[in-house]
């Protein structure tokens, strides 16, 4: 990786969107080329700090984050350079935020961190898209980390992201022991956990059922001329005829049905 490239970062790339307004004034389209900001003039530990004129500011206005569509038309090299620009910017913001906290000051415009983070996330998304496209073309697979449905040690199904191990699965006697007949997965503790877990799920379901039924009763009481089909569509699990017959659904008037 040639890091000296970053000296002339983004000379040809469109103007950095993420740049403080103090340094970057776009007055007209014709002037854009003049005011292009070239990052990394100096390599120093002072890059961990903001520019000197922003030190005592209470309000530092910046632009927006990079959007996905803007990043999609950039080359891989440009994205790579931009990543490091953003990485440095984020480090700078973290440093300033920490110093502000130490000195019990307000950190001006903390949303800058979110904007940088959003840009970085977008870059990663774009790179991922390209990676997947390349792998699909070359190998027919996505090249992403494979995910498998497994039963974990507590007897629950789980999405497992596959990873590499020094020891092959069939040789790992310690791991497989817990899945044996007298292993951990069949132990009393796990069974008890599973029982209680199922009870919890059941209770949630029961409460939801009762809540819906009561709600439908109240609706029928307040709006007896309601569209029953719509009600049925909204609450498919509720027995509407039963709700109509109940005492709670009767309003203080002569029943219409």
């Amino acid at each position: 990786m040639n890091f000296s490239l970053f000296r002339n970062v983004l000379k040809n790339v469109a103007a950095i969107t993420y740049k403080s307004n103090n340094t970057f004034n776009v007055r007209g389209v014709t002037q854009v080329t003049k005011n292009i900001h070239i990052t990394c003039k100096h390599y120093d530990l002072m890059e961990f700090f903001d520019e000197k004129k922003n030190w005592n500011e209470t309000n530092i206005r910046v632009g927006r984050a990079w959007k996905l569509d803007e990043l999609r038309i950039k080359s891989n090299t440009d994205l790579h350079k931009l990543w490091y620009v953003l990485l440095k910017e984020r480090n700078m913001l973290y440093t300033m935020e920490h110093e502000c906290n130490e000195k019990v000051r307000l950190f001006p415009n903390p949303e800058r961190i979110d904007k940088v983070q959003e840009s970085m996330d977008n870059i990663e998304t774009v790179i991922k898209e390209r990676n997947i496209a390349y792998y699909k073309l070359e190998t027919g697979e996505t090249g992403e980390r494979p995910v498998e449905d497994v039963v974990n040690l507590l007897g629950l199904s789980e999405k497992y992201q596959k990873q590499e191990y020094h020891l092959p699965k069939f040789m790992n006697s310690r791991w497989v022991r817990s899945y044996f007949e007298h292993g951990y997965i069949n132990s009393f503790a796990v069974k008890k956990f599973y029982r209680l877990y199922r009870e919890k799920l059941h209770n949630e379901e029961r409460k939801a059922r009762n809540r819906d039924f009561n709600h439908v009763q109240q609706l029928l009481k307040r709006f007896p001329d309601m569209d029953m089909e719509k009600l049925k569509a909204e609450y498919p699990n509720v027995d509407i005829e039963k709700a109509k017959r109940s005492k709670k659904a009767r309003g203080h008037f002569m029943p219409k049905y």
Partner: protein, 150 residues
């Protein structure tokens, strides 16, 4: 890396390379008095000494003589009001020694400049100005409550 995990290194494999590192580092003030070529950082928990050295040398172009790290456990404290126990995040400290001839002094960021008016006065002036603007805008409809306009 678009896939954020390291493959296991087997002997003879090519060197591991990270193309889009998401490590962060922040420069903090030294604790107590230190030599002028010592710098303290907080960094991502997963960074090793080699990572820190490479990070500073390759990305920031700062020569590094030595790196020492430690992990400080976050404090356990009681939440104010609720009373439950909260644990602050652990922090990884990196103590970096620069070469002998290099010096770094932590800048004084909140130094007051000469001729700078007080922050309080500034905000007061701003408030006065905005109130004046508000009065000016609503001259012809004095009976409309303040929350009504946009």
């Amino acid at each position: 890396m678009s896939t954020r995990w390291y493959p296991i290194y087997q002997r003879g494999n090519p060197q591991l390379r990270v193309f889009l590192p998401n490590f962060w580092m922040k420069l903090v003030k030294n604790e107590g008095k230190q030599q002028s070529n010592k710098v303290t950082f907080h960094c991502s928990m997963e960074m090793t000494k080699h990572d820190i050295k490479n990070y500073l040398e390759k990305i920031y172009n700062v020569p590094v003589a030595e790196v020492r790290t430690r992990i400080a456990m976050g404090r356990f404290r009681k939440d104010i009001g609720q009373g439950y126990v909260v644990k602050d995040d652990d922090v990884k400290f990196a103590y970096v020694t620069l070469p002998k001839d290099m010096k770094f002094e932590f800048p004084n960021i909140f130094e007051k400049k000469k001729g700078d008016s007080d922050d309080d006065m500034k905000s007061l002036d701003e408030a006065k100005k905005s109130f004046k603007n508000y009065i000016e805008r609503n001259k012809d409809r004095s009976d409309v409550p303040s929350w009504f306009s946009i």
